[in-house]
């Protein structure tokens, strides 16, 4: 065993956060503890700002105060600004005003409680659209129109991963990786033996043996959106959490899982979420943006786009049109 590069002692640890699994990795095992502390601080800050299921969160205050300006923290302004940017860049396919539509579908409480209760009758609520959301960055205030309920889940978690990775790297003084429910960001120098190894699959809680592909990431972020997780029963069948703002219902389309790498976890998450919503148009869109992507069809075949590596994928390649 004669490594070409200096030996590194990679170390990771996992804990629960944002209703999913959080993983912190560092390239120097001795620095894992300060990295963990830094990540947990970022996670706590985002949770109190952006959680839809905490009555004391800023998001809950903004939803309660719909129709009037509500003073918020700079972090919440940043999260809302990120959500608005996502909406602008995707022509509204990623929309922060889907809160009421999710509630109407039955996702009105912590997900652990959603899956254990009796199947509710699903209803469809129109999505008012991101133009009903306004920010005043000078005054530090946010306003949504009456009746609008925000849900920043699509972008806030990814933004938190970016912030947490930067904080972890700074605290640990080495390269760091932070994954929040499968959306991950890296910061600092990557591992010398090729980058951070990541297993890409449908469910972030699945183990490394789950069908998928192992890749290495050296910079930026990687996000995966999937309709195969966070599903719940309704009286008319299964629903999932990726709402199409055009219909107010769960997104359909040919892709069940989309993974994207980008310069940040936020951009990767915007693209992966929008790709699920866009359906058959997603492949060309991602290729035009030159975002390396892996798209898995509903029937379990895979398409690699814009430089995503072809090798080592467990799934059969999809040939021909996606729809």
């Amino acid at each position: 065993m004669s490594p070409a590069a200096p030996e590194q002692s990679l170390a990771t640890l996992a804990f629960e956060a944002f209703g999913g699994l959080a993983v912190v990795g560092v390239t120097d095992a001795d620095s894992l503890e300060p990295a963990r502390i830094a990540v947990e601080r970022v996670v706590a800050d985002f949770d109190i700002a952006c959680s839809r299921f905490r009555d004391d969160s800023e998001l809950a205050a903004v939803n309660r105060g719909a129709g009037s300006w509500v003073s918020v923290s700079p972090l919440f302004i940043e999260a809302v600004t990120a959500a608005l940017r996502a909406a602008q860049l995707t022509d509204g396919d990623v929309d922060p005003t889907v809160g009421q539509a999710l509630i109407a579908l039955g996702y009105d409480r912590d997900f652990a409680d959603v899956v254990t209760r009796a199947a509710p009758p699903p209803t469809i609520a129109a999505v008012p659209g991101w133009r009903t959301l306004h920010t005043d960055q000078v005054a530090g205030a946010v306003r949504v129109s009456s009746g609008v309920r925000l849900d920043l889940g699509a972008t806030a978690k990814a933004l938190a991963a970016d912030r947490a990775a930067a904080a972890a790297s700074a605290a640990a003084g080495c390269g760091a990786l932070v994954s929040l429910s499968g959306d991950l960001a890296v910061a600092g120098a990557p591992p010398t033996n090729g980058g951070w190894p990541i297993r890409v699959t449908d469910d972030h809680r699945a183990g490394p043996e789950a069908p998928g592909q192992t890749i290495t990431v050296r910079s930026g972020g990687l996000a995966t959106s999937s309709t195969t997780v966070r599903r719940w029963r309704t009286e008319s069948g299964l629903a999932h959490h990726l709402v199409d703002p055009a219909t107010g219902g769960p997104a359909g389309g040919p892709w069940r899982t989309v993974s994207v790498t980008a310069s940040s976890c936020l951009d990767a998450n915007i693209a992966s979420t929008a790709a699920i919503i866009r359906g058959a148009r997603a492949e060309r869109w991602l290729a035009e943006l030159r975002l390396p992507s892996r798209l898995v069809s509903v029937d379990g075949r895979v398409r690699h786009v814009a430089g995503w590596p072809e090798d080592g994928d467990d799934l059969q390649k999809l040939t021909g049109a996606s729809s």
Partner: protein, 144 residues
């Protein structure tokens, strides 16, 4: 008797003529009203755009978006208004704000991990390995 019938017919004809004339007047009045409505709407719109450039009822009272919109519209206003509505240009957008940005380095594939060593003793084989392989993944990216 004949005179009475003739007089009644005349009265009916006169009444019909009077009705037709009245209907024609109403029709002309409707056309005039429509023309006046169109003209007055155009005049009001021109007046409003001249007096309140860059304003709209739907604009929020003090959002950054409103200021940016006004700044974008200012070059298209007439020279007379340009001098009185000079607004500061918004700060140039960063590259990341203009669109989704790809990674500086594309991901690379990791070769499937080698099969577990056979329990049978065999001649030691030194696989050609120019660089150490990445550690097995302990991080999974998937839906949540």
């Amino acid at each position: 008797m004949t005179n009475r019938v003739s007089r009644t017919t005349d009265h009916r004809a006169l009444a019909a003529l009077a009705r037709d004339a009245a209907l024609a007047r109403i029709g002309r009045a409707r056309v005039m009203l429509l023309i006046m409505a169109v003209v007055s709407t155009a005049l009001l719109a021109a007046l409003a755009s001249a007096l309140l450039p860059g304003k709209s009822l739907g604009a929020s009272r003090k959002t950054v978006t409103k200021r940016a919109t006004a700044a974008r519209r200012s070059p298209s206003t007439s020279p007379r208004h340009r001098s009185s509505t000079i607004l500061p240009m918004p700060a140039p957008a960063g590259a990341a704000a203009l669109g989704l940005d790809g990674p500086s380095q594309a991901p690379t594939a990791v070769a499937p991990s080698p099969t577990p060593p056979s329990p049978q003793p065999s001649a030691p084989v030194q696989p050609a390995q120019p660089a150490p392989a990445p550690a097995p993944p302990s991080v999974v990216s998937g839906g949540s």
